[in-house]
Symmetry: C2
Subunit: 208 residues, 2 copies
């Protein structure tokens, strides 16, 4: 069964089990999807209201943008677990001959790279969603202020959680060009995303 | 349909919609459930392994503790939205006579108090789960280190998200004793939970 077709209860049960996947990667993606959903919800609760009429166009942009990012986040929930399963599959490969050992090693390197790409995609999604959330700040329905704050908190957890998943996977990757690329691009995203998330949370907090 | 019986996709769709509930409260509870699930998973991936034999008893305690907290978090996902629906229901009450106005006002005060109790319960759950996560730190399967970090991140987002929900609801509550109680108890939980969550994340980060 596709992970995203599971009920919340069943997914939570499976996550808690001793099955190594789904794990933190898929959980981070789901958290990101929830955060992005809340940003879309807040914009949806703002459109069509006289008080916020001047921000109507912005809110429509935020709704459309959040919808696209949310769909990508939901999509990567299952893809991250599939990538992880690719690593597990390598452990079942034979390692009796030198040729088998070489094939196994190459497969592991490819699997670890795949496990780096899915959390990197989550980091990109989280930054996009945080930028949308930041644009909604101060211009959206104040009755839903706490929801905007929760969006930022979940997106911060998603970007940091994805980063931990990148770090644990690149520690086993030998291609140093690949490692350097994702380390520096990940750090660049964190440098933008974390202060933005904190700014949104602090602004909401001080408004309540 | 009960929220927790919805699929991940359907819940994400509903959260993103212009329905004001479910909102940030239920999303925070789900994030907390995911974080707690990961702590239980990490402990489950540690038991029965020679390398961690000395921590077997601790891990069994963490599994049992996380299971109880996770079930409470899952349970409060739906209850928080029900509490919010209680506020919405008050808006449908008649307000033509003085008696109706008084009944409406009293019902609103009760509904806002109910909407304070569910996020407060989440804060208590998140602190318990963070304490369990902290006990697993440095003693659990290092292959799942990133999962322990994601647990802490999700639990931090849950405790802060619940706090925003408390603040937005107590702003409308007239009973100042109630307000003071939940404000001070919430602040006390934050004072314990946030440094603990940061400590766990930083420790995991520096280990990767």
């Amino acid at each position: 069964m596709k992970l995203t077709d599971m009920t919340l209860t069943a997914f939570s049960d499976l996550l808690a089990s001793d099955a190594p996947a789904p794990g933190g990667g898929s959980a981070a993606a789901l958290g990101g999807a929830l955060g992005t959903a809340l940003t879309g919800m807040v914009a949806s609760l703002t459109v069509g209201k006289k008080k916020y009429a001047e921000h109507e166009e912005l809110m429509q942009e935020i709704i459309a943008g959040a919808e696209a990012v949310r769909r990508q986040f939901v999509d990567v929930i299952a893809r991250d677990t599939e990538a992880f399963n690719g690593v597990s599959a390598v452990f079942t490969m034979p390692k009796d001959t030198d040729g088998q050992k070489a094939a196994r090693k190459q497969a592991m390197q490819q699997a670890l790279q795949a496990c780096t790409l899915t959390p990197f995609e989550m980091m990109c999604c989280a930054l996009s969603a945080l930028e949308l959330t930041g644009r909604a700040l101060g211009k959206s329905n104040t009755n839903a202020a706490s929801d905007l704050g929760v969006a930022a908190l979940n997106l911060k957890a998603a970007v940091q959680g994805a980063w931990l998943n990148i770090l644990i996977n690149i520690s086993g990757i030998e291609d140093q060009e690949f490692v350097a690329k994702y380390r520096s691009e990940g750090e660049a995203i964190l440098a933008k995303a974390l202060p933005l998330a904190d700014h949104i949370y602090e602004t909401v907090l001080s408004s309540l």
